[in-house]
């Protein structure tokens, strides 16, 4: 009985309460989305006043002019990022969940990379992976291996960016998996222990199957995080070398604010929106099934 009947005065208060959120969402999310879709069909610079209709040409130019490559980079980056952060999250979640005394206090450090500013951490990674004097190269040399110029070669640069993104974000998946593990029915696990199941058997036959839904949900959230990685790449490699770390989002930024080709930027923006939308719908569907 939450509805209070006949209270028209309540309507005014309700509209007043929802107005800031609804109006600001409309102006700063929906209007830009409309502008994005509209302008992706037009030719013109970022603050241009005269727009010329060009149909789908921006999309064709975008895909041919580096955009297709950027989508490939985004796929490689996101797959590597999702697999590594989820594997690390699961393993550390299991370790933190083990009934070893005092172990839960070790949870706190994993949150730190998530909350410290990424420009600063990117500069640290740049230093660690610097050619010749960077710590990683000094370790390689100490082991008798040759130098790797991590940030000036396409393959190593992409790997470095994936590792850096993983370092910054995997704590989120540690927290998610730990919360999911703690929510599992403990009596089932206790019964299995009594029946002589070891940690591996408990994991493989009880915990992992029961975590299936959480794993799907976490993979969706992590994929969205991966798609939106920007600062790490902007500072560490600026999309280089030779566009090897230029993701779709970086492409939008570069075309829109550096090359001032907003048509291509908007076409890529539409693709990012559609990709995220499909993933978000998948998330809503999964959550709906859980609660329904």
């Amino acid at each position: 009985m939450r509805a209070r009947s006949g209270a028209r005065a309540q309507w005014a208060l309700a509209y007043l309460f929802v107005a800031p959120t609804v109006l600001l969402t409309a102006v700063f999310s929906l209007v830009p989305l409309g502008m994005l879709a509209y302008r992706s069909l037009y030719h013109g610079g970022i603050f241009a006043t005269s727009l010329r209709y060009v149909g789908l040409r921006n999309y064709r130019d975008m895909l041919a002019g580096g955009g297709g490559h950027a989508l490939g980079v985004t796929a490689s980056y996101t797959v590597g990022f999702v697999l590594l952060t989820m594997a690390a999250g699961l393993v550390l979640g299991l370790l933190l969940n083990s009934r070893t005394r005092g172990v839960s206090k070790l949870r706190a450090p994993f949150v730190i990379p998530l909350v410290v500013p990424a420009v600063g951490t990117a500069l640290i990674w740049g230093n660690l992976f610097a050619p010749r004097f960077g710590l990683v190269n000094r370790l390689l040399n100490a082991m008798g291996l040759p130098d790797i110029d991590f940030l000036s070669q396409p393959g190593p640069a992409l790997v470095t960016v994936v590792l850096f993104g993983t370092w910054q974000f995997f704590g989120q998946n540690v927290i998610f998996y730990l919360a999911a593990l703690k929510a599992l029915p403990q009596d089932v696990l206790a019964a299995a222990s009594v029946d002589g199941a070891g940690p591996w058997q408990r994991f493989a036959h009880i915990q992992w199957p029961m975590l299936r839904r959480n794993t799907i949900l976490i993979s969706v959230i992590t994929t969205l995080t991966g798609l939106q990685t920007f600062t790490q790449i902007y500072v560490l490699t600026n999309g280089g070398p030779q566009g090897s770390t230029q993701t779709a989002l970086f492409y939008v930024f570069n075309e829109g604010f550096v090359q001032f080709d907003t048509g291509r930027a908007d076409a890529m923006g539409v693709l990012i929106f559609l990709i995220s939308l499909v993933i978000t719908i998948a998330q809503v569907a999964l959550l709906g099934r859980r609660h329904g």
Partner: protein, 269 residues
């Protein structure tokens, strides 16, 4: 016993990987630049140069950058919490024409990632003459679909008897919200507030497209500019990075319990 050693060993290794880059930052910040670029030099600072922090601070307008970041993060976070609290309460407690449609509108922002619309948002800010202004930084960031959703869930789970009792005593709907229900949300406000605050404080992409003058830039932008001006002064760059990271680290350590709670909330589950 062996199990205990394995668990602690693996966790300690992971903690080391997490914390090492930050320790390395501090060590590098107090080295001489000569020691940094010499691959044969010891890893430990030989003659610690504690003055590097003060030097870095003097080389850039950090005080201004911190001020801008604080204004932006405090205002945007307060706005997100307040607007989310109000909207979430109305969607949970009131019935009004158009409620369904308005609820979907309020959440539609969650479907539009900011990364997709950076170009039109910049164009919009330009049309409003809001580039390089506090209102341009703050106002577009106030609507929070996540806040609205979470506070709605929260109030749906709160006891309706409290409001009914107050209503019988003649309290107005506004007073019931302010005196009865809003105070109940305090723990949720703390958990969501700390996460939103840190997100706003660390936000780089939005300020990057909304402001580009030294007077208006935030700390993260400032650090990026600093880096481009002192490309090979590695000790000063690490000192400047420390200046931006240490305050956040202090907040994170002090509020770690709320942060863990807030991150869990963010999973929308």
């Amino acid at each position: 016993m062996a199990k205990r050693i394995t668990v602690y060993g693996m966790l300690s290794l992971a903690v080391l990987i997490v914390l090492f880059p930050l320790v390395w930052m501090l060590l590098t910040a107090v080295k001489s630049n000569g020691q940094i670029v010499n691959p044969a030099a010891p890893l430990w600072p030989v003659h610690p140069e504690w003055g590097n922090f003060a030097d870095a601070w003097r080389q850039g307008p950090f005080a201004r950058w911190f001020w801008n970041t604080a204004v932006f993060a405090v205002a945007a976070t307060s706005g997100q919490l307040l607007s989310g609290l109000l909207a979430g309460y109305a969607f949970a407690m009131f019935d009004f024409p158009g409620k369904r449609l308005l609820f979907w509108l309020a959440l539609s922002g969650l479907m539009v990632p900011f990364s997709a619309v950076i170009v039109p948002v910049a164009q919009l800010l330009g049309d409003l003459h809001w580039l390089n202004s506090y209102q341009g930084l703050i106002i577009p960031n106030i609507a929070s679909g996540l806040g609205t959703f979470l506070f709605r869930q929260f109030f749906l789970g709160s006891p309706p008897q409290l409001g009914e009792a107050a209503r019988i005593d003649g309290a107005s709907e506004l007073m019931i919200f302010i005196r009865v229900y809003a105070p109940l949300a305090r723990p949720a406000v703390a958990a969501l507030g700390i996460i939103l605050f840190l997100q706003n404080w660390n936000n780089f992409l939005f300020p990057l497209i909304a402001v580009n003058t030294t007077r208006m830039e935030v700390v993260s932008q400032g650090l990026s500019v600093f880096q481009s001006q002192f490309t090979s002064q590695y000790n000063l760059i690490m000192a400047a990075a420390s200046i931006t990271i240490i305050p956040v680290l202090a907040v994170a350590v002090a509020a770690q319990r709320h942060i863990v709670e807030g991150i869990t909330l963010g999973a929308l589950d």
